[in-house]
Symmetry: C2
Subunit: 388 residues, 2 copies
C-alpha cells in the first residue's frame, strides 16, 4: 500500500486506452482533507512539458486537492493545443470532484510530441471513470501506481509510519532518462501529518536533493519530472519537522533506489561514493562525471574493473583534488592507490548486481553518493525501439 496508506487519501487507476497494451494508464489521487497543503519540485530542464508548466502555476499557492497522471504520452512540445489539453484534463477532474481546476496538479509521461485531439479525448473521457473508481483501500493506491508505469517492469511504492501517529506513502515511476533535476520520474507522496505547505516545501527539497537528484541512470534529463507531496492533516498530528524530513528522505531514497533497480536494461546498480571531498558540491560533481562515462558503464556491464576510466572521467571536472593522490576502490578492492595501480584488479568481483565504487579525493571531509547503472545491450535495445 502506498499513497492510500495515510488517512485522507483516495486513489484510482483506470484504462484510458492511451497505452497500446490496454494496461491502466490514467491515475487519480485525491486529498479529502481536512487540510490540502502541498509542495512539488519539477524538472530543471528548460524544455518543460505542458503539464509541468500547468502544475507550476497550481502549486504556487501551496494548495492541491487532486493530482491526475497519465502514461502513454508526455504532452511535451505539443504547443498551445497541448497546454489546452492539460487545462481540459484539470477541468474534467474539477468537474468530477466538484473542486477548482486551479487545485489540480497534472502529470504526463510517455513519448514527447504526443498530445493530439485523440489523446485529449481519451483522457478527458476517462476522468469520470477514474473518479468513480477512487478508493481509500490498498487497491486504490496499487491501481494508481500501476497506471503511471511506462517501461517500468513493476510498480514502485513505499510507506513510512511514525510512532507519533502520522504516516507517509509514496508511488513512483521511471526506468530511464533518470538524471539530475529529476528525470522521466513521476512521484506522488501523501501524508496525513498536519503540516502547512512551507514546511512541506522545505522537507521535500531537502529530501529530493540527496535522493532523486542523485540518481543519474543515463545522464538524460526528462521534460516531465514531478515530485509532489500532498498533506491531508487527517491524523490530526503536527509532525516534528526534523522527524518528518528524515522519514521523508528515507522514503524518497527507497523509491529512488527502486527506480535505479528497475532502470531500463541495466544489469548492475552502481553506487559511486565520493568521500573526503573539499565540499559536497565537489563530491556530487565528481560522482556525476563518473556516472556519465559510457566507457566505464560498459566496462561494469562486462564485469571489468577498468579503474582507469574512473580517473579519466573525474579528471574532466574542476573539483578540488590532486588526481595523482586519489584512491579508488571497486567492491572493496583498492585498485588505485594514490594515483598508481593498487591491489590486483583480478581480486575485484563484479558479478553481483550491486557495484560500489569508492573514490577518496583526500581533499576535505565532505561526501556524496551518486546512483547509476551500467550500459548494456538491453539499454541500447530498449531505447532504440521505444517509439515503435
Amino acid at each position: 500500500m502506498s499513497v492510500t496508506r495515510p488517512g485522507g487519501f483516495r486513489a484510482s487507476g483506470v484504462v484510458a486506452a492511451l497505452k497500446s497494451t490496454g494496461a491502466r494508464d490514467l491515475a487519480l489521487v485525491v486529498n479529502d482533507g481536512p487540510r490540502h497543503s502541498a509542495a512539488a519540485v519539477f524538472t530543471s530542464n528548460r524544455a518543460k512539458a505542458n503539464p509541468v508548466i500547468w502544475s507550476q502555476q497550481v502549486i504556487a499557492d501551496g494548495r492541491v486537492e487532486a493530482i491526475v497522471l497519465n502514461s502513454g504520452g508526455a504532452n511535451c512540445f505539443t504547443g498551445s493545443f497541448g497546454f489546452q489539453t492539460t487545462h481540459a484534463t484539470a477541468e474534467a477532474v474539477a468537474g468530477a470532484l466538484e473542486i477548482s481546476a486551479g487545485d489540480v496538479l497534472v502529470c504526463s509521461t510517455g513519448l514527447i510530441g504526443v498530445g493530439d485531439q485523440i489523446f485529449r479525448d481519451k483522457i478527458v473521457d476517462s476522468v469520470p471513470a477514474a473518479a468513480a473508481a477512487l478508493s481509500a483501500a490498498v487497491e486504490g493506491g496499487a491501481d494508481a501506481a500501476a497506471a503511471i508505469m511506462t517501461t517500468d517492469s513493476h510498480p514502485k511504492e513505499a510507506v513510512a509510519v511514525s510512532p507519533a501517529g502520522w504516516s507517509i506513502g509514496g508511488m513512483a515511476k521511471g526506468a530511464g532518462m533518470l538524471a539530475p533535476g529529476l528525470a522521466t520520474m513521476l512521484v506522488v507522496i501523501t501524508t496525513d501529518a498536519d503540516l502547512e505547505s512551507p514546511v512541506l516545501d522545505r522537507a521535500l527539497r531537502a529530501a529530493t536533493r540527496v535522493t532523486f537528484d542523485r540518481v543519474d541512470s543515463d545522464g538524460c534529463m526528462s521534460t516531465n519530472d514531478t515530485v509532489a507531496l500532498l498533506a491531508s492533516g487527517a491524523s490530526g498530528v503536527v509532525a516534528d519537522e526534523a522527524e518528518f524530513t528524515e522519514a521523508l528522505t528515507a522514503l524518497c531514497l527507497d523509491l529512488a533506489l527502486q527506480l535505479q533497480a528497475d532502470a531500463e536494461g541495466a544489469s548492475h546498480d552502481i553506487a559511486i561514493e565520493v568521500v573526503n571531498a573539499a565540499t559536497e558540491d565537489d563530491a556530487v560533481v565528481v560522482g556525476r562525471s563518473v556516472s556519465r562515462s559510457n566507457l566505464l558503464k560498459a566496462a561494469i556491464f562486462g564485469n571489468d574493473p577498468n579503474w582507469g576510466r574512473v580517473l579519466a572521467a573525474l579528471g574532466t571536472t574542476d573539483a578540488v583534488f590532486d588526481p595523482y593522490l586519489i584512491d579508488v576502490s571497486m567492491n572493496g578492492v583498492m585498485v588505485c592507490r594514490a594515483g598508481e595501480p593498487g591491489d590486483d584488479r583480478e581480486l575485484v568481483d563484479l558479478t553481483p548486481r550491486a557495484c560500489h565504487i569508492l573514490i577518496d579525493l583526500k581533499s576535505g571531509d565532505a561526501a556524496a553518493t551518486i546512483y547509476t547503472n551500467d550500459l548494456t545491450h538491453e539499454y541500447v535495445h530498449e531505447n532504440s525501439a521505444y517509439a515503435s
Copy 2:
C-alpha cells in the same frame, strides 16, 4: 602516404610486442630539417598521462626533432616509475638519433594503469629497430600510421599539397573516447613549409578548435590525447599563414571525420549542425548536449527519428533560445517546427550511415557542427571487453 609526404621527414613503425596481436606498436617520426619548429595541443583532462606531462615540457621551446609513439599501454596513472619510462623512451630515441631527449615528443595509447618494467623494456629495447627502419618513402609513413592503431579498424592518413610548393601530411588514431579537449586521439602532422613555431601554434589551435575539438563520439575524454605539428622547412617556401591555416584545418577535418567514421561499434555518423545561435559557443554547447544524449543515440541506432530526445537534451543547456520556437530537421525532414510536431516523422529515412540533425535556434547568426556517433550493441560489446 602521409607524414612522409612533406620533404624532410622519415618515419617507421615496428613491433615492440606491446600488443598481444603481434602487430606494429611502436612508431617514430623524425624531422631532418633544416628547420625543427613545432606546436602541439594536448588533452584538457586533468588526469594526464606521463607522456603528455613530458611532451608539454618538450614543446615549450617550440623545437622538436622527433616524436615516438606507442600503442599497447597508455602509461597513465603509473606514477613516477611511469614518468621515468617516458623519459627513458625519449633518451633511447635521442641516443639512436644523436639528438637531445629534450627535443623528443612521446605519445602513448592503450589501457590506463599499464606501464611496468616489462612495458618499459619492450619500448626502450625496440627503439634502435625503429630508428633503423626510418624511411622517407611512402612505406615509412604507412608503417607509422599502422603502429599507432588500437581498436582502429584501419590507419587514418591525409595529405594536402599547396601550389605554392609546400605540403602537409597527417596520421591519426582513435576509435572511441573521442570527446572535446581531444580524446584517445593521437595525431602527427608534418609539413615542409618554412614556418616558425608561433605561426604553427596559431594555425594548429585554429584548426583543432573547429575539427578535433568538435568530434564527440561518446562523451568520454582521454588522458593521452596529443596533436603535434612538425615543420621541416624543407620546401624552402614560407607559406602564407592564412592559406596554411586553411589547408591545415581542412586536413584536420578530414582526419577527424575518419576518426568518427571508424568509431567503435558505430553504425551512424551523426553531424549535429546548430544554426542561428546567439554565439558560436552557444551553438557548440547545444550541439554537444545533443551529442551526449544516450537516448537519442540509441534511437538513431534504431533508425528512429525521436526528435523529442533532441529537445530534451538541448533544454538542459543555458544557451540563449526559446525552446518553443526551435525547428529540428532530421535528414532533411523538419520533424519539429517552432516547438511543435512538424512534418511526419515517418518521412525521415535514417537507414544511411550519414545522419544530419539540423537545429535552428532562431536566436542569432552563429553556427557550429558537432560530430558524433550512435550508441549501438557493438559499442557496448567492444567497451565491455576492451581490457580482456
